[in-house]
Amino acid sequence: MNAVELSGRTVIVTGGAAGVGRGIALACGDAGAHVVVASRRENGVEVVDEITARGGAASWSQCDVADGDSVAATVAHAVERTSGLHAVVHNATSNRSSEPHRLEDVSIDVFDEHAAVSLRGAYHCACAARDALEASHGTLLVMTSPAGIEGSATLPMYATMKGALRGFAKSLAREWAPFGITVNVVSPLAFSPAMANAIVEDPALEGRLNQRVPLGRVGDPETDVGRGVAFLVSADARYITGQTLAVDGGHFMSI
C-alpha cells in the first residue's frame, strides 16, 4: 500500500533510467503517477517496462537535458500523452560527476560538461515546463547533495553544481510562488551504480558508510529516496516550497 497518492498526475524524471532516478521513477509509478522516464539512452525503456509490469503507467522519452529542444519535446510528450504535467524531477548529472579531481586542475571544458547537465539542464527543464506546471499548480524538484552544502574534498565541481542548484531552487520558488508552482530540493543518500562499483573495489566501504549514517544503513533509491520524492510531488506537499529535504538516514543534519 502506498500512503502517497499520485493517481492522475504525470511526473517527468530526468536521468530516470538508472540509480536514484530509476528509484524515483519506480516509486512514483507505484504511487499511481504516469511516469515519463527521460534519458539519453534507450535503457529508460527498461524502467518503463518495470513500472508497467507492476501495473503502473509510464513512457520513455529520449531526452538530453543539455539541449533545450530535447527537453521541450519531452514536456510535449508528457502533456500530449496524459492529462497534463504535474511534476518535473531534474535528477540527471554529468557522467563525470563521480570522477575525483582537484579544483586547481579543472579546465573550462570540464566545468562546461558539468554545468551543461546540472545547471543548463535545470534551466531547460524550468523553461520548458513552466506553462504546464502553472496550469496544474505543479512542482519542480532538483536533486542536491551534502557536497553542495558543505563542499567536497574530492568532487569540487560536483559540489559546485549541487550548491548552485539550491540557489536556483530557492530563487525560483520565490519567483514562481505567485503562479502556484512550488520548487524544492532533495538531498539523497542511496545506493547508486557508482557507489556499488566503489563497494566492489572496497568491500569495507559499505560498513564504514553504514556507521556514519544515524539510521545505520545507506538508503534504497526506490523505497527510501523515491518515496520521499513521491511525497514532494504529491498534492499533499502543496504548501512546501523553497525547501531542501535530506533523505539520507540522518547523515546530514546541518541544513
Binding site: 533545450g68 582537484r102 579544483l103 586547481e104 579543472v106 573550462i108 566545468f111 562546461d112 554545468a115 545547471l119 543548463r120 535545470a122 534551466y123 524550468a126 523553461c127 513552466r130 557536497a147 553542495g148 552544502i149 558543505e150 563542499g151 567536497s152 574534498a153 568532487l155 569540487p156 559540489a159 559546485t160 553544481m161 549541487k162 550548491g163 548552485a164 542548484l165 539550491r166 540557489g167 536556483f168 531552487a169 530557492k170 530563487s171 525560483l172 520558488a173 520565490r174 519567483e175 523553497g242 546541518s254
Partner: protein, 193 residues
C-alpha cells in the same frame, strides 16, 4: 605575489571593489586574494523563462567560470607559501531572490566552490572563506529586489568599511584556524546559516 600583499579581483564589479581596496589599506594582512562576486552584468533582474540561452550563460555559468578561474589563479600565487582567499558575495544565495535566478544560482555555486577549495587547499596552508553582504552594496542597480528580507537588526545596512573589517579579519595572519566559513555582514538581516 610578494609577502604582505592583498589583491582584489572583481570581474564586472561596480565601484565596490575599488572602495574595498581603499578600505583595506593599512590592514594587517598576509598574502591574500579577495574575490568579489558581484558582476553588474550578471545581477540583472528578469524572469527566468524570459531568458534565452546566451543570457542564462552570461548571468549564471559565466559567473561560475570567472570564480573558478579566479580561485585557480589565487591557488597558483599562494600555493608556494600559503595564504588566504576571501570571497565577497551577496547574501541572496541563502534566502533566494526572485528575478535573479541565474545569478543566485551562480552565487550558491561559488559558495560551495569556496568550501571545496577550503577542504582541498588546507594542507597547503591556504584558507578560503566567504563574506556575504547585501546585494545592493555590490550591485546598486538591484536595490529594492530584496524587499522581502527582514530589515537589519542593527538599524542600518553595512558600509564598505564594515565589510573590509570582516575581510581583514580573515586575511589577518595572526588569526589562524578558520577555513570554509561564511560570515554574513548585513547588519543582521539574513540570520540563517
Amino acid at each position: 605575489m610578494t609577502a604582505q600583499q592583498v589583491r582584489v579581483v572583481a570581474p564586472g564589479a561596480s565601484s565596490f571593489a575599488a572602495e574595498l581596496t581603499a578600505a583595506l589599506e593599512g590592514a594587517p594582512t598576509g598574502d591574500c586574494v579577495v574575490y568579489v562576486c558581484g558582476d553588474v552584468g550578471a545581477a540583472v533582474a528578469g524572469a527566468l523563462d524570459a531568458l534565452d540561452t546566451d543570457e542564462w550563460d552570461r548571468r549564471a555559468e559565466q559567473v561560475l567560470r570567472d570564480a573558478l578561474t579566479a580561485l585557480q589563479d589565487a591557488h597558483r600565487v599562494l600555493s608556494a607559501q600559503g595564504g588566504r582567499v576571501v570571497v565577497v558575495a551577496p547574501t541572496v544565495g541563502i534566502p533566494g531572490a526572485p528575478g535573479l535566478v541565474p545569478f543566485v544560482t551562480a552565487v550558491e555555486g561559488v559558495r560551495a566552490m569556496v568550501k571545496s577549495a577550503a577542504r582541498q587547499w588546507g594542507a597547503a596552508d591556504i584558507a578560503v572563506n566567504a563574506v556575504l553582504v547585501p546585494i545592493e552594496l555590490l550591485v546598486p542597480a538591484t536595490a529594492g529586489t530584496t524587499a522581502y528580507l527582514p530589515p537589519p537588526a542593527l538599524g542600518r545596512p553595512p558600509t564598505v568599511v564594515d565589510v573590509a573589517a570582516a575581510v581583514a579579519a580573515f586575511a589577518d595572519p595572526a588569526r589562524d584556524g578558520v577555513t570554509g566559513a561564511t560570515v554574513v555582514v548585513d547588519g543582521g538581516s539574513v540570520m540563517a546559516p
